[in-house]
């Protein structure tokens, strides 16, 4: 009874604290949103390359033959990125200076005797030299060239086979060379047309689901997590030792203060979410029934309580405030990563997926996507509820245990 009174007192106190510093509330509200929007902008601007500003690559042709020109053409044409990749012929020194001046993303060298070695089945190396200041673009270029090389490698075996048989048939050298060149061209064209092999069917993830919804859900989840972290720490009060001792004499425990903080954080985050959702709901992508809203709220609530409990446990265990902030930020980051809000869990290694499926962020995000994206009616709260209870109990145990050891 007494402890409930204490908790209520601290809730009131925390509420007052927020009221007194109301002007920083909008800051807390917008800071995660700005961060998430910035990240989205950066990622989007990377994946939607600028046509006025294509990825430039240099081609250093030490062989100077028809074939190398055709391979260059193949590199330019082989991907959907074709419009965004611009290849220029240059000398080796030119390419080096262009790389160090950050003008090109990577360059490719056709070694001397490239064509000759290619036809005779000798080993040929195509070095790709990346610009260390544009690592992502360099790797992208390397991927593109790698797939072209894979195609040519298959053709190369075939061409040298033809070459071998032509030799056995005692063809004259000129005749054979003509044949080989002709075949090389044919194989390049053949490779260009290789998309016919696959009959592509694009299935849409059921009528309601679209990337926009998927990514919005992910972004909201990240914003929710960041709010929890920010507001929980915002409520932190730096009590001096004397005040702590006096409070201890009144029978106030650390746990009561943590619970009060969790409670105020939950209410604030809930209000924030309502405001944000009112803005987002203007768009037609989100349209839910009342009972779906209740489900979404419940799942978010369980998630929030679990996360806050772990924040609380960290608060009990760490002494220094910066260290605690570091641990809590790290935890929030891990929780965002394993939830699947950034990278879908299916792309993780198998052993990691096994572990992740038992974690509450994954569980919470999974059910959120099931409800929001797949309109699932059935929801299994039990695992999430159990995890939440376990987290709260651990918090209570750790906190009370610590107070008992250290009077």
């Amino acid at each position: 009874m007494n402890s409930i009174k204490h908790i209520l007192l601290f809730i009131k106190n925390n509420g007052l604290q927020l009221k007194r510093k109301w002007f920083s509330l909008p800051l807390l509200f917008f800071f995660p949103i700005i961060a998430v929007v910035l990240v989205i902008l950066i990622v989007a601007s990377f994946f939607l390359p600028n046509e006025n500003n294509p990825i430039r690559i240099g081609i250093v042709d030490l062989d100077q033959s028809t074939e190398t020109q055709m391979v260059t053409q193949l590199i330019e044409d082989s991907t959907q990125l074709g419009n965004y990749v611009e290849a220029d012929m240059m000398e080796e020194e030119e390419a080096q200076t262009a790389t160090s001046n950050n003008e090109i993303s990577a360059y490719l060298i056709f070694p001397k005797q490239f064509t000759n070695d290619l036809y005779n089945g000798n080993s040929v190396e195509l070095p790709v030299i990346g610009n260390p200041r544009k690592p992502m673009e360099s790797l992208l270029i390397h991927e593109i060239i790698g797939s072209v090389v894979r195609h040519i490698r298959a053709s190369q075996a075939n061409i040298s086979t033809i070459n071998e048989y032509a030799k056995e048939l005692e063809m004259s050298d000129t005749q054979r060379n003509d044949l080989i060149l002709e075949q090389f061209q044919e194989f390049v064209l053949y490779t260009l047309g290789s998309n016919q092999i696959v009959n592509e069917n694009e299935v849409t993830n059921q009528a309601t689901s679209s990337p926009i919804q998927y990514f919005t859900t992910g972004a909201l989840f990240i914003i929710l997590t960041t709010w929890l972290l920010a507001i929980y720490n915002y409520l932190h009060a730096n009590n001096s030792k004397q005040i702590k001792q006096r409070m201890y004499l009144y029978g106030v425990t650390e746990l009561q203060q943590i619970i009060a903080k969790m409670f105020v954080t939950l209410i604030t985050v809930f209000l924030f979410s309502v405001i944000l959702l009112v803005i987002i709901l203007e768009s037609p992508h989100f349209d839910f029934e009342m009972n779906e809203w209740i489900k979404i709220t419940l799942i978010s609530l369980f998630y929030s309580i679990s996360l806050l409990s772990i924040f609380g446990i960290l608060e009990v265990l760490t002494v220094s405030y910066p260290l605690r902030l570091l641990c809590q930020s790290f935890l929030a980051l891990v929780s965002i990563l394993i939830s699947g809000a950034v990278i879908p869990v299916i792309y993780f290694p198998f052993w990691l997926q096994d572990i992740i499926t038992y974690a509450f962020p994954y569980e919470a995000f999974y059910w959120l996507t099931e409800i929001i994206l797949h309109n699932r009616i059935y929801t299994d709260y039990l695992p999430l509820l159990m995890i939440t209870l376990a987290a709260v109990c651990t918090l209570a145990g750790v906190s009370l245990g610590k107070e008992r050891i250290k009077p």
């Binding site: 961060a35 910035l38 601007s45 990377f46 994946f47 600028n50 500003n53 080096q96 950050n102 089945g121 000798n122 080993s123 040929v124 195509l126 070095p127 790709v128 030299i129 990346g130 610009n131 260390p132 200041r133 390397h142 991927e143 797939s147 090389v149 894979r150 298959a154 075996a157 075939n158 040298s160 033809i162 048989y165 048939l169 044949l179 194989f187 053949y190 998309n195 016919q196 092999i197 696959v198 009959n199 592509e200 069917n201 694009e202 299935v203 993830n205 059921q206 990337p211 998927y214 915002y234 730096n238 220094s320 405030y321 910066p322 260290l323 902030l325 570091l326 290694p349 198998f350 990691l352």
Partner: protein, 375 residues
């Protein structure tokens, strides 16, 4: 100077644990992050559904080759399952090796041998498709070769069967070291094997973590500006400001020694370069960081607010600087972002750093202005 160092040592005696932690944090953090992500990246696989509609040698050979690709985790499904699982995104995409695969290849027909299911969330579809196409292409290409050889040998005394020629082509492909591409970065990081090229920019990651730890280590700027302490400074041989500046110098020396150790550790563990040039750059960077942290510290009076703001600053540096996320797309559109980014000149190995000039000027102004300003 010696006296200042002595007082500093007395301070550190009480906080050596946290000081040591934050000094080591950027280096150890970077190494740990790079090692874990590389391990996870190497084990990552794309779940792809494969339906085998016929059980001919060619089709099952294709199936086994796909299975052996390290990037792909093959899931056996039926076509209906495949479609459903792609829809619910349990599979990235699905490929169906269609009935009549072998027959069509033998006839030299290569259209629509494979049917695929993708969705707008199939992030890995294009590379997986490219790979499967190139595998199928190998088979169709060999048949094509066989037909060509048959053509040119027409009318000659020597004749080979199609099977013979295909076997020969396979032999050539397996036995000979054919065309391959190698990758290396222009700055002399010699070609590591393909898997080891990490997406991380080691120094960028370090710079972000070190920005955070520098800010946190500079909490003394606030702690030692407490009003109670000011009456004591009056009894000191130095002015308050020169006390702070001399401490700034001590911290700069210590942090720079740590930075050099970091450079050495990165050289050992992560194959980063170790040059004199780099040491100078590192020093400029350290100076920038410290002066910035010092000035930010002067802005605050409450230590808790300062700590939280430090984390927020570190977060935004991480997002904008291009050290963690590639920001090429953004800076090419908004060049002014490069000037705002405190890590830009360090990460791009440029000597000119506008930040340090601004900071030094601001500190000079702070020093010359009246004592009452921040006291």
């Amino acid at each position: 100077m010696i006296d200042i160092l002595k007082t500093r040592l007395i301070h550190w005696k009480k906080q050596w644990m946290s000081l040591l932690f934050w000094l080591a944090f950027p280096t150890i953090g970077t190494i740990l992050i790079i090692y874990t992500t590389t391990a996870i990246q190497q084990d990552s696989q794309v779940p792809v559904g494969i339906v085998l509609e016929e059980n001919t040698p060619l089709a099952s050979e294709l199936y086994h080759t796909i299975q052996q690709t390290p990037l792909i985790r093959v899931v056996d499904v039926t076509e209906a399952e495949a479609k459903r699982k792609v829809e619910t995104h349990e599979l990235d995409s699905a490929f169906i090796i269609q009935e009549g695969y072998e027959e069509k290849i033998q006839k030299g027909n290569r259209n629509w041998l494979i049917k695929s299911y993708t969705s707008d969330l199939s992030f890995a579809y294009t590379p997986v498709k490219e790979m499967i196409i190139s595998l199928v292409q190998e088979d169709t290409g060999r048949t094509k070769t066989a037909h060509i050889v048959r053509q040119i040998s027409e009318g000659s005394s020597k004749q080979w069967s199609i099977e013979e020629i295909i076997v020969k082509a396979k032999e050539i492909q397996q036995e000979e070291n054919l065309l391959r591409s190698t990758f290396s970065f222009a700055d002399g990081e010699q070609s590591r094997s393909e898997n080891e090229v990490t997406i991380w920019n080691t120094w960028g990651l370090w710079a972000v973590l070190s920005a955070l730890s520098t800010l946190l280590i500079f909490d003394w700027v606030i702690k030692e500006r407490k009003p109670i302490l000011f009456s004591r400074y009056a009894f000191m041989r130095f002015s308050v400001k020169s006390y702070f500046l001399q401490n700034l110098l001590i911290y700069t020396i210590i942090l720079f020694i740590i930075d050099l150790t970091t450079a050495y550790l990165f050289h050992v563990f992560l194959n980063e370069e170790l040059t004199l040039n780099w040491a100078v750059l590192l020093f400029i960077h350290r100076l920038t960081m410290n002066t910035t942290a010092f000035l930010i510290g002067l802005l605050f009076r409450q230590i808790l607010v300062y700590y939280s703001v430090s984390f927020v600053i570190a977060l935004f540096i991480a997002i904008i600087s291009g050290a963690v996320l590639p920001n090429d797309g953004l800076t090419s559109r908004f060049t002014w972002l490069e000037i705002l980014n405190p890590l830009h000149s360090f990460l791009n190995e440029e000597w000119m750093n506008p930040w340090i000039i601004v900071c030094v000027v601001l500190i000079a102004i702070w020093k010359t202005r009246g004592v009452e300003s921040h006291a």
